[in-house]
């Protein structure tokens, strides 16, 4: 079938490949070039500065802080979302009336624009007139300054992310749980296996490959965290700065294109490593029997 139409197959695939090379691969290479210069956002004329930008990236604690904070964010967000999402999926596992409608309603947060909804969370979490603190006050509980307290705002942003993305984990978990054949549970029942035993010996291992996939999807996404931080604290807050907001701050606020490019290159190495793990996992899933 594929022998005679060489022209057609390249006409089909070439546009996509060319666009991706022009707007993804070329910028990446250009980024490397820029990272060795002192290029600025305004004004032309830049010169090569060797590895000076990289020297700054590795010496300045701001960069290490942003990397550490992003790693913490990814770990906590993905962990909490997985735990919560999987628990809710377990609760939703058995059929009941209106289940489809409930599941769809629970999915809404992840479909929304983080930039728009993140903005709105500022109103909900406001220390003085936010509904959360008014409710806490009414209950006689302490009313922390969620979005302005130095020690708290990072965790508030994390909480918003968990609110947005737990539905994703729930949805994938539901698929993973739904793919376990009922006959296995029936066999376990005949063997009089206890509930906990069934959970740890059947449910969890059989859902694990799909959950791993979910974790990798979320991790690569959380790694880019930008919108929520911008909405809640802005890019230049020393206690919430992630790698994306730091690059934004350096390039667009400070105008230091070369330095921003150097940091972007460092970040990219980390992302490529993660993406490699991710696609390996994908291949393993696709080749393994019984994946949904």
């Amino acid at each position: 079938m594929a022998k005679t139409d060489g022209g057609m197959k390249w006409a089909l695939v070439a546009p996509v490949l060319l666009l991706l090379i022009t707007f993804n691969v070329f910028p990446l290479l250009y980024n490397i070039v820029l990272s060795f210069t002192n290029a600025e956002l305004v004004g032309s004329g830049s010169r090569t500065v060797g590895g000076a930008n990289y020297g700054r990236v590795f010496a300045d604690p701001q960069f290490a802080g942003a990397l550490r904070r992003t790693a913490l964010f990814v770990t906590c967000a993905v962990g909490a979302e997985l735990l919560l999402g999987f628990s809710v999926a377990l609760a939703l596992q058995r059929a009941f009336r209106g289940k489809q409608a409930v599941v769809t309603a629970l999915l809404v947060p992840m479909m929304l624009s983080p930039a728009v909804i993140g903005l709105f969370w500022n109103l909900i979490l406001n220390g003085n007139y936010g509904i959360v603190n008014q409710t806490l006050g009414w209950l006689g509980l302490p009313q922390p300054q969620w979005t302005t307290d130095r020690d708290l705002k990072f965790w508030s942003i994390l909480a918003i992310d968990i609110w947005m993305w737990t539905p994703f984990m729930m949805l994938i978990s539901l698929a993973g749980l739904g793919a376990i054949p009922p006959s296995i549970y029936e066999a376990a029942e005949i063997d009089r296996a206890g509930r906990l035993r069934v959970f740890f010996k059947i449910t969890l291992p059989m859902a694990a490959p799909v959950l791993a996939l979910a974790v990798l999807f979320r991790a690569t996404d959380a790694l880019k965290q930008f919108d929520l931080v911008m909405a809640v604290t802005g890019p230049n807050d020393s206690s919430t700065q992630t790698v994306s907001t730091l690059i934004y701050q350096i390039v667009f606020r400070d105008g230091k294109v070369g330095l921003g490019a150097a940091f972007a290159c460092v970040v990219l190495v980390v992302v490529v490593a993660l993406a490699t793990v991710f696609t390996r996992q994908l291949d393993r899933l696709r080749s393994s029997e019984g994946a949904p």
Binding site: F23, L34, L84, A91, V102, P109, I131, A175, L213, D227
Partner: protein, 287 residues
């Protein structure tokens, strides 16, 4: 156990949906009621006599004011919504067309290194936008694309290619080759078989793919903000731009605008609920 299950569902359901209910309530308030030190929870036809009451006067003011130009912006909400629609729809069409063609190529033809190409296409999705934004900005300056609709359409089209290729490949792989073979026997050319026989069969997949493309273009903020100072500002960038303006945040209007903005997304979510997982995972999980 049974009660625990329902407790979890109801408890989580409340956390998931109450913030959205708050957006709805806020869109019915006067601005003073959105930042009142007394929680205003229950809409009422008239303003309460007691300022500490939990009721507030319901008003359509915010909805009318969507047409107003706020401090910190140059046009009204509707103008930016129109930008979002133009950019979202055109980039989705482009991405879907290019992605479907490419996916068909990988699905039906023997392409050297196809596994590596597909991996490359997927890997572009993991790129943090800010890792390429600087060179893209430089390119856009050269090409005069900065702050134009065309610039964002092009960018979102490319951004969504990985999604549309992977999703469409999954859908096209499911269409039996016998369809095309029969068409070829009937005297169709390969192109005709693709356009007239395969594409109509793939319409569900194309609809699902289009929904996911438009959602990601619709919600995108990073590029919309960094590559734009005035020309083609979309709704997320418009709302974010209101922060720190001199008159304070117009919360009721933001709430009303946010509702208008998310309404199509919620409708799309409901329409594609059976294929949601497939879309969110690039077709790697089929439900």
């Amino acid at each position: 156990m049974k009660y625990l299950r329902f407790l979890i569902i109801i408890g989580y359901g409340a956390v998931a949906t109450l913030p959205l209910l708050w957006v709805v309530l806020s869109s019915m308030k006067h601005r003073a009621d959105t930042i009142s030190l007394h929680a205003k929870v229950v809409p009422a036809p008239t303003a309460p006599a007691d300022p500490a009451s939990i009721t507030f006067e319901a008003t359509a003011e915010a909805w009318r004011d969507l047409a107003a130009v706020h401090a910190g912006a140059q046009a009204s909400f509707w103008h930016y919504l129109a930008n979002s629609i133009i950019i979202g729809v055109l980039s989705t069409i482009a991405s879907l067309a290019l992605g479907t063609a490419c996916a068909y190529g990988f699905s039906r033809f023997r392409i050297p290194g196809s596994g590596d190409w597909l991996f490359f296409i997927l890997s572009t999705r993991f790129l943090p936008p800010l890792a390429v934004v600087v060179p893209v900005l430089m390119m856009y300056r050269e090409l005069d694309l900065q702050g134009t609709h065309a610039g964002l359409i092009l960018l979102y089209t490319i951004f969504n290619l990985s999604l549309s290729v992977w999703l469409m490949k999954g859908f096209l792989d499911e269409i039996p080759r016998a369809f095309e073979e029969a068409a070829l026997v009937d005297g169709y050319t390969r192109w005709q078989a693709f356009l007239r026989v395969v594409l109509p069969e793939a319409r569900t997949g194309m609809a699902v793919t289009a929904v996911f493309c438009i959602i990601s273009a619709w919600n995108e903020y990073g590029f919309a903000m960094t590559l734009n100072s005035s020309g083609a500002i979309t709704v997320p960038a418009y709302f974010a731009g209101l922060q720190g303006n001199i008159d304070g945040m117009p919360w009721p209007q933001i709430a009303a605008g946010a509702l208008v903005f998310v309404a199509p997304i919620i409708i799309f979510t409901i329409c594609t609920r059976k294929n949601l997982l497939r879309g969110m995972t690039f077709g790697t999980i089929k439900q």
